[in-house]
């Protein structure tokens, strides 16, 4: 489902965090959100999964402003994998963790039905965590946890995926596997990524945030220009599409003087 962010302003504790941010993720596209630390990436995601109410502007998922939807209705459209894994230390199994994804599909009296079991089973299989299903979530490694959280998001049967640093702390192979998995879902995705190489590999388009505003947006090669890399990230680098179809960034030996 299409995501449209239109002239968004967000203020936290009276401090402006996002200023006049507009972007679009077309149906089926994967858009990467990149930018230095503190540029407002996670804040923008919070506005998308309806955790922060904007001071101005709109976030639309499909045709609806997320704040005209109920929290549950919004969560039936948008699923998020976030970095707040501080919870989950308290005894849920992997299967139970994935089943949390069915929450927005139920009211207080709702019981699990065939739909729920199918969605959970399917998500578990797609993310390759079948063998871990009965293990306790807290006993898993970092890479396994990320796959389980992605399965939880897929069990929501979302029309839009929001990912915050999904591949942090993962080894290189696990990163590639996770990216393939996201591509394979075919779900419209907005992903915050720290690693620009990875962003270039995964995404159709990139949006660059700096100091709370969008400074560049568009196809990967148009966005990651030497100028943008120098001005926003403070590095000397060049982006090229190689013969194997993969876009790579080569960094100079020294950052800017």
């Amino acid at each position: 489902m299409r995501l449209t962010v239109d002239r968004l302003h967000i203020t936290l504790d009276r401090r402006p965090i996002l200023h006049d941010v507009s972007l679009e993720v077309r149906e089926g596209d994967i858009v990467g959100l990149v930018g230095p630390n503190g540029s407002g990436k996670s804040t923008l995601l919070r506005a998308v999964y309806r955790s922060l109410r904007p001071a101005g502007g709109v976030v639309r998922v499909g045709d609806d402003d997320v704040w005209t939807l109920s929290a549950r209705a919004a969560a039936r459209r948008t699923a998020a994998v976030l970095q707040d894994s501080t919870g989950h230390t308290a005894g849920l199994s992997v299967a139970e963790t994935v089943a949390l994804g069915r929450t927005p599909h139920h009211g207080l009296l709702g019981r699990d039905g065939t739909d729920d079991r199918e969605a959970v089973d399917d998500a578990i299989d797609r993310c390759g965590v079948r063998a871990l299903a009965e293990r306790e979530y807290a006993s898993l490694s970092g890479g396994e946890r990320q796959r389980v959280l992605l399965a939880r998001a897929l069990a929501q049967r979302p029309r839009l995926l929001v990912l915050d640093e999904l591949t942090n702390h993962l080894d290189i192979r696990a990163r590639f596997e996770l990216l393939d998995l996201i591509r394979a879902t075919g779900t419209t995705t907005l992903a915050v990524l720290h690693d620009l190489d990875l962003a270039a590999r995964l995404c159709d388009h990139l949006v660059v945030l700096a100091e709370g505003t969008v400074v560049a947006a568009g196809p990967v090669l148009d966005v990651l220009t030497p100028d943008t890399l120098r001005e926003v990230f403070g590095v000397r680098a060049r982006t090229e599409r190689h013969a194997d179809g993969v876009t790579r960034i080569s960094y100079a030996a020294r950052p800017l003087d």
Binding site: S51, G87, G91, E136
Partner: protein, 322 residues
């Protein structure tokens, strides 16, 4: 439960227990010796039922509070509810020698105290409409200490007899159980326990962290508010009738979690059941170990439960990685 009714300062055969209970429930059948009848029907049966209700109530509110504040140490004591209740009770015991203050008896004052503590924690724990779990726990601990100081101050002014009453009250007992209390207590305990069980799925979501829970469509602040109100009502009621029984609310939920996992849809009913059984057993021991005297429940709940609890904790491998 039949065994718990049958054993005590005077032993009653199990068969007689059933005959007496059936006689009262159905009105038919032959009644037994009037003295036994008196012991079984007027003293022991309400006592055992009250112990079961109190045990279930404390255990369930412990389980819910642990999820609400995302802290495994949480229970009605840590969040200040028990200290609020103690202050209420001690005010009446010391200032009115156990009669009434402002129309409130010991039980009613304890109930008001627990709810006052709950309201304070609730108010202090939030900032700009957001209830951060850590702030809630710390607010609970602080509020508890304030109530505790006030209670201690009052105890200094108490006579030795009053002091003994205070101690017995704070350690908890169901010796004073009466049939007249049971309708209210069972109504409150059963209703709140059932309502809290309805939130099983949402309690699970709270374990995922606040941001993830929000993204799963749960209004985290409203959920916390509702759960806090229900659980302070539940604890307030149990403490009002049975005093400050510690450790049940902390230990029972963990015991169940370590055996069947943390899915609250299974956790809450089993916690209620185990809490009920545990307090019935503890009450049975409290009136048989030092016959014909009685021990307060609070002394035994921890003494009996802690070693088993520690053994379970040491056996659990996941705790090493978490």
């Amino acid at each position: 439960m039949t065994v718990a009714v049958s054993v005590g300062a005077v032993g009653v055969p199990l068969g007689d227990v059933w005959r007496i209970v059936l006689h009262h429930v159905s009105g038919g059948g032959a009644s037994a010796d009037p003295a036994l009848d008196q012991i079984v029907w007027n003293f022991r049966t309400p006592r055992v039922l009250l112990a079961a209700l109190v045990g279930a109530g404390l255990a369930v509110s412990g389980a819910v509070l642990q999820a609400v504040v995302s802290n495994p140490l949480a229970d009605p004591t840590v969040l200040g509810f028990s200290y609020g209740a103690s202050l209420g009770a001690v005010v009446v015991i010391v200032l009115a020698s156990g009669a009434t203050v402002g129309g409130l008896g010991v039980s009613a004052a304890a109930f008001v105290g627990a709810l006052a503590a709950g309201a304070l924690v609730f108010a202090l724990g939030q900032r700009r409409g957001r209830m951060a779990p850590t702030r809630l726990v710390l607010a609970g601990v602080a509020v508890g200490y304030v109530f505790l100081s006030a209670t201690s101050f009052l105890q200094l002014r108490a006579t030795p007899t009053e002091l003994r009453t205070v101690m017995f009250w704070m350690l908890g007992s169901v010796a004073g159980a009466q049939w007249s209390q049971l309708p209210t207590v069972s109504a409150v305990v059963l209703t709140t326990a059932v309502l809290l069980s309805l939130f099983g799925r949402r309690l699970n979501v709270l374990l995922a962290g606040d941001e993830s829970a929000t993204a799963l469509g749960v209004d985290v602040n409203r959920l916390r508010a509702v759960l806090l109100v229900l659980s302070s009502l539940l604890t307030g009621t149990t403490i009002a009738v049975a005093g400050g029984i510690g450790f049940v609310g902390l230990m029972i939920p963990h015991l169940v979690r370590l055996t069947i996992g943390a899915d609250h849809r299974r956790l809450l009913p089993l916690t209620a059941l185990l809490g009920a059984v545990y307090l019935v057993v503890v009450d049975l021991l409290s009136r048989t170990l030092v016959r014909p005297n009685e021990l307060p429940l609070g002394i035994l709940t921890a003494l009996l439960g802690a070693p088993f609890f520690i053994w379970l904790l040491r056996r659990d491998k996941v705790l090493d990685t978490a």
